[in-house]
């Protein structure tokens, strides 16, 4: 075999390494600022682009896509060349990859600061940037597959598998989650609505964690940990098993982000089960990583790199145990919407991604600068400072999560909320927030030590633009002589296809039914599309990042329905492009902010003053000021475009409504202005504050509008004649047994709770329309639910027909008559 000499490129690696460090500092700096904003709201400065709602997505994007993203590229470009024994496929593509990625990051920072956002977590960027991301990702993919194609080793090492899975899956996730209808250059609406949008979003969000923050880093772990420890990975078998089970399982677990929320039950259960199973491959990976160091533990004492790896991999194991624990419904009921989620995410980001990155950088710089690390001692100090930083960060947040959740759920002896004012549960957390910010600052200061150490290292050495290596050329063998077990490692295309299928199955089985089955999203007839003014208000809500602190999802717990009102239903969100359920309650839930009789309702005057200066109403509030709402106008020229875009994705505005939408907008705005004027506030129809008030007053108003009619006991007419068809009545019996039998007996005979339905005596009248009315509207104070909110319209007709069909059936154990005699003709 011919021995060939070739050169590894180090320039791309150096560029990405520097970018990693630069964006790491930026991202962490913003993180410390927003942590402080939660304790000291004055730090929002009353300026839109410095307010928490805008900065938080900048922080998450900077850390995930800029810091971690650049670290991934640095590590991948370094390791793939060496694992494949060849120079990178194309240096030029590598440079395009680099500058393209930095351009995306810069554009992201600018547009997010300006309020151009889709509000979908970790996918906030607007559509032109989405397209740019896709292009740069393709450029990188070409470079990866090109390098694989010209490799000089026959078999692909396990790291390369993880890189391939990353590239493929991120492409699928990015494309499907970013499907949106553009309104203008920097505004679009998600094609998915409400519950579908939420499920697609968390399928994406969860797997962005899986395939951006986990699989590439596992690939890096399988290369850099053996290199640093100077011994091969513990078990090759375990790495194969780890890889396939991990990529197969991860994709299913997304719905665990939506437990107890308005999502079909079977989707939630699927998410829970797969999350629990995920412990196995994750721990397989951790064990494999840690045991690689066996026999080298004495070196951990001196080596900062190995320390970073040990703690990083251990944190990976802890996070992947905590994650499944958080996916149990009973744990999630406590943790969700609190700081536990934030703590969990940061243990992963700071310890797993951060520490693996630091270990890699301390190892890489001396290699590519052909020298020794400037100071091992300083690196060790960095390790201890950032470990301390993580503890100071995480522990207060867990503490705060339990404090807040227990306060939310605490009832007095009389059965009332012990802390009815949401703010009480926030001010209690401020000491924890200060400590957390301190932890973040410690971690950041460790980063400064790293910069000093690496700059000194680079100065003491000489950068090697390329490194020489030699290997025999890969001679194409005729038919593989392998006995069949290693056929996959030597066939990258076949491998990629199988990996793709493994990942796609989860998406197909889980996502498609939600999109295609209409009955998964029962419609509620009183839910109507947003008015033009409300739509404008909603877009302001999105662009100012209100959803980062306010959820719109009342879970079916008494502690939540007491505080906010009726729990959220799937059918309420059918016109929500995108959904705004949120993940964290720094402020109260707003799903019922527009219910005039509800506890969350505030008048227009209150909202006006609250936006202008929240502290004028609540002294201790941490809500930032939004003074610009009162000085800036909404852009009414965008209204027709927005209406047309909504029509395209199926929102039933009447034909030609786009042309007259602004008239309706002005009419509705005039009423709010009049209301404000009566309370001594002068403003005009076009001000942003008016649209915000209109939107907030709409939230939850739809389903409660009908509730109000019920209270007047509005008489309904049964929409169809009672059905007599045998099959229909049989399915009516099924519905009855499932929903009604608990209170009215298996055969309608009645029990201790509900009256007999088969005799001639009725509490609320015995005509067909009477029976339909009481079934549809219910009698909530007596425990009879309003079934029109819970059953589909057809099912309601069917079950009422069934009840009518069992009249006079004289079942055994019949309950004594209640109410008045009603004789049917």
């Amino acid at each position: 075999m011919e021995q060939q000499t070739f050169y590894y490129d180090n320039k791309i690696v150096r560029l990405f390494s520097i970018a990693t460090i630069f964006w790491g500092v930026v991202g962490m700096l913003v993180g410390v600022l927003i942590a402080l904003q939660l304790a000291f709201p004055a730090l929002n400065f009353g300026v839109d682009f410095l307010s928490y709602g805008r900065l938080r997505p900048i922080h998450t994007n900077a850390v995930i896509f800029a810091f971690v993203g650049n670290a991934i590229f640095a590590g991948l470009y370094y390791s793939m060349q060496r694992l494949l024994k060849t120079r990178v496929f194309s240096y030029q593509l590598g440079i395009i990859n680099f500058w393209g990625w930095q351009l995306i990051i810069a554009l992201a920072a600018i547009t997010l600061a300006m309020g151009y956002t889709t509000t979908k977590e970790y996918a906030e960027l607007e559509w032109p940037i989405d397209i740019l991301i896709a292009v740069v990702w393709v450029v990188y993919s070409i470079n990866l597959f090109g390098t694989i194609a010209k490799r000089r080793v026959k078999h692909l090492y396990v790291s390369i598998w993880f890189y391939i899975a990353t590239v493929l899956t991120i492409a699928i996730l990015h494309i499907f989650n970013s499907l949106e209808i553009p309104v203008s250059l920097f505004k679009s609406y998600s094609v998915y609505a409400g519950v579908q949008d939420a499920i697609v979003q968390w399928w994406y969000g969860h797997n962005a964690v899986a395939f951006f923050l986990t699989t590439p880093f596992l690939g890096l772990m399988y290369y850099f940990v053996p290199k640093a420890a100077n011994r091969p990975v513990y078990s090759y078998r375990l790495s194969v098993l780890h890889f396939w089970t991990l990529i197969f399982l991860y994709i299913w677990a997304g719905p665990h982000h939506l437990l107890y929320q308005a999502v079909p039950d079977w989707v939630q259960s699927l998410g829970v089960v797969f999350s629990i199973m995920l412990i196995a491959p994750s721990w397989g990976g951790m064990v494999n990583g840690l045991l690689t160091l066996r026999g080298a533990w004495d070196r951990v004492r001196e080596s900062a790199i190995l320390k970073f790896y040990v703690v990083g991999i251990t944190a990976y194991g802890m996070s992947t145990l905590e994650g499944p624990a958080l996916s149990l419904k009973n744990v999630n009921a406590i943790s969700h919407f609190t700081d536990w989620t934030v703590g969990h995410a940061h243990v992963g980001a700071l310890a797993w991604n951060g520490f693996l990155t630091f270990g890699m950088l301390y190892w890489l710089f001396p290699k590519i600068f052909k020298t020794k690390l400037f100071s091992e001692k300083l690196a060790n100090i960095h390790f201890w400072i950032s470990t301390l930083g993580i503890l100071f960060y995480a522990i207060p947040l867990y503490w705060s999560a339990f404090t807040q959740t227990l306060m939310w759920k605490q009832f007095t002896e009389d059965g009332l909320l012990a802390y009815p004012n949401f703010l009480e549960t926030v001010t209690r957390l401020i000491p924890m927030y200060v400590t957390r910010a301190l932890g973040g600052a410690l971690y950041l200061s460790g980063m400064i030590l790293l910069i000093y150490n690496l700059v000194k290292t680079a100065k003491s050495g000489k950068f090697a633009h390329q490194e020489e290596d030699s290997a025999p050329s890969l001679i194409k063998e005729k038919k593989s002589s392998e006995k069949g077990h290693s056929w996959l490692e030597s066939k990258p295309v076949r491998f990629a296809i199988i990996a793709f299928i493994a990942v796609a199955i989860g998406g197909l089985i889980q996502i498609l039914p939600v999109i295609f089955i209409k009955s998964n999203v029962p419609t509620i007839s009183s839910v109507k599309p947003y008015t033009p003014l409300e739509l404008q208000g909603r877009d302001l809500y999105i662009s100012n990042g209100c959803a980062t602190c306010h959820t719109q999802m009342v879970r079916p717990f008494r502690s939540e329905t007491e505080r906010y009102g009726e729990y959220s239903k799937v059918g309420e969100f059918v016109y929500d492009h995108p959904h705004l359920w949120g993940t964290k309650r720094n402020g109260p839930d707003l799903a019922r902010a527009g219910v005039a009789t509800g506890k969350m309702y505030k008048t227009a005057t209150w909202h006006y003053n609250h936006f202008l200066d929240p502290k004028s109403i609540e002294k201790q509030t941490i809500m930032p000021k939004y003074p610009w709402f009162n000085t800036r106008n909404i852009d009414t020229s965008s209204t027709p475009k927005k209406i047309r875009a909504m029509q395209k994705i199926g929102v039933p505005y009447p034909n030609g409504y786009d042309k007259i939408a602004n008239q309706d907008l002005m009419k509705q705005a005039a009423e709010i202005v009049k209301d404000l004027k009566n309370n001594g506030i002068a403003t005009d129809e076009l001000k942003q504050v008016v649209a915000m008030i209109a939107y907030l007053h709409r939230l939850g108003a739809d389903i409660m509008a009908e509730k109000k009619d019920d209270q007047q006991n509005q008489k309904l007419k049964m929409p169809v004649e009672p059905l007599t068809d045998e099959a229909k009545l049989a399915s009516g019996k099924d519905i009855y047994v499932k929903n009604c039998a608990a209170c009215h007996g298996q055969l309608g005979e009645g029990n201790q709770i509900g009256p007999n339905l088969t005799d001639k005596y009725w509490l609320h009248g015995g005509s067909n329309d009477d029976i339909y009315t009481i079934t549809a509207n219910g009698f909530p104070s007596k425990g009879m639910q309003a079934w029109k909110y819970l059953l589909k319209e057809d099912d309601l007709n069917i079950v009422v027909s069934y009840i009518i069909s069992i009249l006079d059936s004289n079942p055994p154990n019949a309950k004594a008559a209640q109410g008045e005699l009603f004789e049917r003709k």
Binding site: S79, R82, L83, K85, V153, H155, Y157, V158, S159, V191, Y192, A193, Q196, Y223, P226, K227, A229, R231, P232, V233, Y234, Y236, R237, L238, V240, L241, W244, T245, F248, L249, W252, D265, W266, S269, L270, V273, F274, M277, T292, R294, G295, A296, D469, A471, H485, S486, A502, I505, G506, I509, Q510, L512, P513, I515, F516, I517, K518, S519, I649, G650
Partner: protein
């Protein structure tokens, strides 16, 4: 979305009693994948595993392959 994609596929999926079908199918699929992967790794020869493990070290110690880090 339903408006855009309403199709025979939609009717097909709707016909499935999804509350039981999907979780069971996914469990079976996973078990198959898992068993497949286990069989696969058990059939890998010692020699092959040692060779694969040492790919990251080929630039340094070409002669002596490392066995389980001993």
């Amino acid at each position: 979305m339903t408006v855009m994609l309403a199709s025979p596929l939609s009717r097909f999926i709707e016909g499935i009693n999804h509350s039981n079908f999907f979780p069971i199918v996914s469990l079976i699929l996973f078990i198959l994948v898992f068993i497949g992967a286990v069989i696969w790794v058990l059939r890998l020869s010692k020699d092959f595993r040692t060779r694969m493990k040492n790919i990251p070290f080929n630039d340094e110690n070409k002669q002596n392959l490392k066995e389980d880090g001993k």
